[in-house]
Subunit: 224 residues, 2 copies
Amino acid sequence: MEIQVMEDILGRNDQLASENQMLFAKRGVFVLNLMGSPGSGKTSLLEKTMAALKDNLRMAVIEGDLFTSKDADRIAKYDVPVIQINTSGGCHLDAAMVQKVLQELDLENLDLLVVENVGNLVCPAEFNVGEDVKAVVLSITEGDDKPLKYPLIFKESAIAVLNKVDLLPYTNFDMAAAKKDITSIHPAISVLEVSCTSSTGVEAWYDWLKEKVAAKKMAVNAHG
Amino acid sequence: MEIQVMEDILGRNDQLASENQMLFAKRGVFVLNLMGSPGSGKTSLLEKTMAALKDNLRMAVIEGDLFTSKDADRIAKYDVPVIQINTSGGCHLDAAMVQKVLQELDLENLDLLVVENVGNLVCPAEFNVGEDVKAVVLSITEGDDKPLKYPLIFKESAIAVLNKVDLLPYTNFDMAAAKKDITSIHPAISVLEVSCTSSTGVEAWYDWLKEKVAAKKMAVNAHG
């Protein structure tokens, strides 16, 4: 019976996610649903990205958090429009929460919208918010066993950012094993080694993002 | 309406948790609900604890995981009874899941039962499983902003283990600020600085556990 309730919730969410997706498609906005554990470095990656790309891409951010606006405050420093969604304890964002705040964004003049989800390696992967792709950030300090333990989020994500690689020398993280597990779960996934502290690999991340944004624009122009 | 469903689920869970708790009380077993993000070091802390205390305490472990038995396999090496619960994607353990496996444990001959929850800093804090106390493990690599961002789990926990302090020199984690935030959320909480890699602080953790187990035994004997 509880499963029935869950299916109803997911079905309704998919409906609203489709509505969001159609709106984004009409405006040619590429939307990224950014997920990962608490402290994996999602906001740090976004900060780097804002600083590096804000002159090339018109960006906005929706920040999901249980109660605070700590991450939104960090993003706002980069002069990028940011909207805070507080889930009041809810463990993930859903399509309805995102839909509610979309009117506050100037979608017409936007290239990239990043939705930073609540820090959680489980629930966010189950709920589409209307994004083009999902991305998962995994800190190497979390351990190389995490892909097999939390497979859904890697299966759902188009890219996995293995973050904090500057700490590799001080941990027993097996990079080859982690990559093998991630690609066994999802053969088509992109995997990047990144450190927001040392800036290792961030260029590859920017390139990946810029390509995705450009591809979305082309697809929209082709249909429009 | 969704909130109503949530309240029903929580109400039913509390009922089953009480049943578990009465059973544990009758047998004099101290039960710890061990929570924390993926990769915070819950299983590593348990491994240290098994190795150090298994000659003094009769222990058993219930391992919660989405799909795998990776953590149970690690615990089983210490010759401690371990039961795996796979939640099939569910983001936390609940009282019903724990109740179902209790018959497989020899509660009569047990001092300490540790329930290692699914790696998640949000949902596990909302569901009692019948434990005496909850404990939260936070890796310092997750960042010092996490207590204020995930307050419920710190409010619900009797002890916060700040793990991986061997990595402090390589991060910008502010220990004083983190402790201040944790105790502002929950003034009576115990806070320990621990490293399972360097064994810093593990003795204080063992002492805390041993005291709790002894207190439970005394309380049960006083009532028996």
